[in-house]
Structure formats: structure tokens, C-alpha cells
């Protein structure tokens, strides 16, 4: 399942006797999933304190623009 969808190398799938399908994903792959189209690949900078600046944070607006662009492509 996971490999079929190209979830990524390092991912394993187990069909448990209970019927549950368990996908094992390294944290590296899991965090990359959310960032493969993103503006930053530095997850640590996201988990820790913000940097030393007093400026305008663009991440939400950039994300919104990304979705608008994607929706536009789907519509076309």
C-alpha cells in the first residue's frame, strides 16, 4: 500500500492479525511529507524558538498562495 503510493523508501507495511494495517514511517519521511512542497526544509527551526528578527512572517501567506496555485491548476 504505502510503497504502491510511493510513500517513500524506509516505509514498511504490516498486516496485523487483528485486521489493522500498520504503516511504519521514519520521522524523517513523515516530516518530509509535509514539507516536500514547502518553503522550508528545516523542521528544527519550526520546533524550536523563532529566530532573532522583528519582521513579518510569510509562511502562512506562502502556504495560502501555494494552495491557490494548486487549486488553479486542478481547475484548469
Amino acid at each position: 500500500m504505502a510503497q504502491q503510493h510511493g510513500m517513500s523508501e524506509g516505509t514498511r507495511v504490516h498486516h496485523l492479525p487483528s485486521g489493522v494495517i500498520r504503516v511504519v514511517v521514519p520521522a524523517r519521511i513523515a516530516s518530509d511529507l509535509g514539507r516536500m512542497q514547502g518553503i522550508t526544509k528545516e523542521i528544527l527551526g519550526e520546533l524550536g524558538c523563532g529566530g532573532c528578527h522583528s519582521g513579518y512572517d510569510l509562511r502562512f501567506e506562502q502556504e495560502n498562495q501555494f494552495i491557490i496555485n494548486e487549486q488553479g491548476q486542478i481547475a484548469r
Binding site: 494495517i21 513523515a30 519550526e46
Partner: protein
């Protein structure tokens, strides 16, 4: 006290490592903002720690190292969490900086609901009461450090008031009374001047220049008529020219640091970043031939008559306003009429929204796709009103996830996506495997969201996603280096 000359450098970011490794003769010092590489686990007695391998990765760079705090400023009347200083000291032990620096600002306030983080570095009360509060904090922090402390001259988006000390007089009084160094952030002073406060030259006339050990330079951007200290690009040419005039007047200057946010370094490109450092190095090398040093700090104007305001009242009122609360009283009324407060509120809102976006990327995408930008902003608004900013991104993400879970929203897949992202965050923070139980096949769901769309079809069922820490987790935490062109 004689400190070693470190030369010209840059704030550390993993993406800059190729440049740092390729140009050790040009870039002779790198400055670490330690809290950016920390993980935060409030359940632990010592909640702060470096991400595995992060400190070693900085230590092995060929440059001399400096340590510059970003989370526990020393300009307010509240003493920062001593547990954080223990972890700063780990960085000092590993990197051997000749001095460390922190901001002459505050980021803690309190009201009837308790103490809270303000989400932004805010200016201390510029009166004798503010000086007294900052001096007490600087002394307390400096006493716990094994190396000297320098305080950074901060940004202030508020309009100057007749009852205030000037910014230069305030910084001078703190540095002299607390007997500490000064990190002269010229872009901060430039920003303050652009926004109606004291000029850089006036500021320099008032401070003891012989206490300046370090200079910061950066670029900024404009928003709503304000110049912002955004670290978003090259240093303005006029500011470079000003630095060239100022550098010869700083007899104890030991380091010059260029500051740029990693996202902007990526768009500027490493070659352009290198070009900026070459400009700074040329000024650094030429500073000895400039005008002779003249002992400074004698031009300090007498402070205006003090006001009955005390530092704690100022911090609590300004802190409450910028996080969107509505404190009452004369001071609150005066501050609210200052357009700088509206700018601060906007910056705090955007910083918080950016933090949620950065930590819960797939959740944010799902909300934007299903609720639209306005609907997502309304949800963020609701969360921000219900909960003050968190210092660490992981804590802000956990808070937003809890808020969303309590809203009983009719958003397809939301519960699954939140469980997946929270499990990933917790694995990264705690270093232990986490299992997220989902009701939809995770692969097509998550991959569609990663591509910015809803999945066409997702099978329902009982799925478990186990997120495991692995050998490459450090690399995942630290991100990928930029490549040179």
C-alpha cells in the same frame, strides 16, 4: 578585559554550511542562536535540550563561534527561566565563545490568568524604573554565565514619548550600571530611526562606545508604512555607508555579524550572501584607517522627570495588548492609540500563523483547501484569542491541535491528519516511536495533501501509522544545505 578579535561572520543556519565550510578565511566567525536548535518537552524537569547532534554539527565548523540567545531576553524585570541558562551553558562549553549576547528586550508578561509569553521581543519601559528592572535581570543572568554578557540594542516600533529616556540613554544606563558589553545592532537602530525614533548618530553619541564588542547588520522590508527588522535581504547601502563611518569609532569591536533568515538566504542565493560578507569584511579591514576614536558617552541628555509607571506594569500592559487582550487603564489607552501597537499585533499574529503552518503543514493545507483562507484565518483567530503564544513551535502546534479537536469541525480527514502530524512532532521532540490510529488509508491521503489537493478516493479502514526515530532523524531535523550556483 581583553576579548579576542573574531572578525566577520554570519548567523548559523544549516543551509549555510556549504558556504561556511568553503570560505573559512572570509567568514571567520559563526554565531549560533541556540534556542532555534532546542527541543522543548514541558513534561521533563529540564524541558529544554539540544536536538541530537545539533551542537556537534556547529562545533565542527572551521569558524570561531559566538552564542546569541533569542528566547530568554534580559531587558525586562522578570528573570528568565534558569533551566534555559543551563542549556545555554552547554553551548558555551561546547563552542567556547569569548562572550555571549541576549536582547535588551522582554517577552514575558502577566495578567489575572497568569504569566504568558508575548510572542515577540518587546521594548522595555524607557525610564529609570525600566533601567532598574533590566539591570537586575542582566546581573542575574550574567552571574550564571562563565563568559561576559553583551546586551543587544533592540527594535522599538512605538512612537517616542516626552516622558521617555532616549534609546541611547537607556542602553547606556543599563550597560554602565550592569557593567556589561553592548551588541550594537545597527539595523535595529536604523529601523527605529526610519519609524520615528532617535537617529543612529544620536544613539551612538549617548552610549559608551568602548563597550561595543559586536555589531549586527541586516536587511529589512516595509509594511504599512513601517520599516521592519525582517532580516530579509541585503544590508541597505546607506546603512553600509553608516557602518563604514561608525566602525573606526568602536575601539573594542571584536566581531561583525550579518543576519539573514534561512528562507531569505535561499532566495537571495549563497553567492549573494557571500558578497554581503565580502562588503562587511572590506569595512572591517579598513576600520583602523578611519577617524580616530573619541571617548564617547558624554553626550547623554539628562533623563526627563520619571513617571509613576513601573517596569512590571508596562510589560504586562504592552504584552497583553500585542497578544490581543484588552487591558484597562490610562497606559492601555495611550498605547492603543500608538499605531506601533497595531503593527506589533499584526506581526505577532503572522508569526503565530507561520509557526502553526510550519509545524502542522498538512493540517494547514487541509484547512485552506476546505475552509478557504478566511475560514482558516478565523480558526487561527479563535485559537490565538483562547491561548497566548508559545515560545516553542512544537508547543504552539500542540495547542492548535487541541483547539481544533475541541471545535468539532466537519472537515473531512481532519482528525486523521492531526493525529498523524502530532505523532510525527512528538516522535521528533521525544525521540521515541509514536503510533497514530487513522480511519483512512494514510498514503493517498497524506500524499494528496502534500501536493496541495484533496485525495480523489481514500479507502476507509483501521490503519496505524508508527512514526519511528531513525539514524537520519538529525539530518531531518537540521534540513538540507543550500547549494552554490
Amino acid at each position: 578585559m581583553t576579548l579576542p578579535e573574531l572578525g566577520v561572520g554570519i548567523i548559523y543556519a544549516p543551509a549555510l554550511e556549504p558556504l561556511l565550510e568553503a570560505a573559512p578565511d572570509l567568514i571567520t566567525v559563526v554565531e549560533l542562536e541556540p534556542q532555534m536548535l532546542w527541543l522543548y518537552d514541558p513534561e521533563e524537569e529540564q524541558p529544554y535540550r539540544f536536538a541530537p547532534g545539533a551542537l556537534e554539527r556547529v562545533r565542527r565548523l572551521p569558524q570561531a563561534k559566538l552564542v546569541h540567545g533569542v528566547g530568554f531576553p534580559v531587558g525586562g524585570s522578570r528573570i528568565p527561566d534558569p533551566r534555559a541558562l543551563d542549556v545555554v551553558n552547554q553551548a558555551i562549553e561546547a563552542l567556547n565563545p569569548p562572550w555571549v549576547s541576549e536582547h535588551l528586550s522582554f517577552n514575558r508578561a502577566a495578567d489575572a490568568s497568569g504569566e504568558f509569553n508575548t510572542g515577540f521581543l518587546l521594548p522595555p519601559l524607557p525610564t529609570q524604573s525600566g533601567v532598574d528592572g533590566a539591570v537586575g535581570t542582566v546581573r542575574s543572568v550574567a552571574a550564571r554565565l562563565p563568559v561576559p554578557l553583551a546586551v543587544e540594542t533592540g527594535v522599538n516600533y512605538l512612537q517616542p514619548q516626552p516622558w521617555e529616556m532616549s534609546d541611547g540613554a537607556f542602553a547606556a544606563a543599563v550597560a554602565r550600571t550592569a557593567d556589561c558589553g553592548i551588541l550594537l545592532d545597527l539595523h535595529n537602530l536604523w529601523t527605529n530611526c526610519c519609524n520615528g525614533r532617535q537617529t543612529v548618530e544620536e544613539f551612538l553619541e549617548e552610549i559608551p562606545l568602548e563597550r561595543v564588542w559586536e555589531v549586527h547588520l541586516a536587511g529589512g522590508m516595509e509594511l504599512d508604512g513601517y520599516w521592519l527588522d525582517a532580516h530579509s535581504g541585503p544590508v541597505p547601502e546607506d546603512l553600509l555607508a553608516l557602518f563604514e563611518r561608525v566602525a573606526p569609532r568602536l575601539p573594542e569591536l571584536r566581531a561583525v555579524i550579518f543576519e539573514i533568515m534561512p528562507a531569505f538566504a535561499a532566495s537571495l542565493g549563497l553567492d549573494a550572501v557571500r558578497g554581503q560578507i565580502e562588503r562587511l569584511r572590506a569595512i572591517w579591514e579598513g576600520r583602523r584607517t578611519g577617524a580616530a576614536y573619541v571617548a564617547s558617552g558624554r553626550a547623554t541628555r539628562p533623563p526627563p522627570a520619571d513617571t509613576p509607571l513601573d517596569a512590571r506594569t508596562w510589560e504586562d500592559c504592552l504584552g497583553a495588548l500585542v497578544v490581543g487582550r484588552r487591558p484597562e487603564g490610562l497606559l492601555a489607552g495611550e498605547l492603543t492609540s500608538d499605531p506601533g501597537v497595531a503593527i506589533l499585533q499584526k506581526l505577532v499574529w503572522n508569526f503565530r500563523a507561520g509557526t502553526v503552518t510550519g509545524t502542522l503543514k498538512l493540517t494547514t493545507r487541509l484547512l485552506l483547501i476546505t475552509q478557504g483562507a478566511e475560514g482558516t484565518r478565523a480558526l487561527l483567530d479563535g485559537f490565538f484569542r483562547s491561548s497566548p503564544p508559545q515560545l516553542f513551535g512544537s508547543a504552539e502546534a500542540e495547542g492548535f491541535a487541541r483547539y481544533l479537536a475541541g471545535q468539532k469541525l466537519d472537515v473531512p480527514y481532519l482528525a486523521d491528519v492531526l493525529r498523524f502530524e502530532c505523532a510525527t512532532l512528538r516522535t521528533l521532540v521525544h525521540g521515541r516511536s509514536r503510533v497514530a490510529r487513522l480511519h483512512h488509508d494514510p498514503a493517498p491521503l497524506l500524499e494528496a495533501l502534500a501536493a496541495g489537493r484533496l485525495p480523489a478516493q481514500v479507502r476507509e479502514g483501521n490503519y496505524e501509522v508508527e512514526i519511528t526515530p531513525d539514524r537520519a532523524t538529525t539530518e531531518a531535523l537540521m534540513g538540507q544545505p543550500l547549494t552554490t550556483t
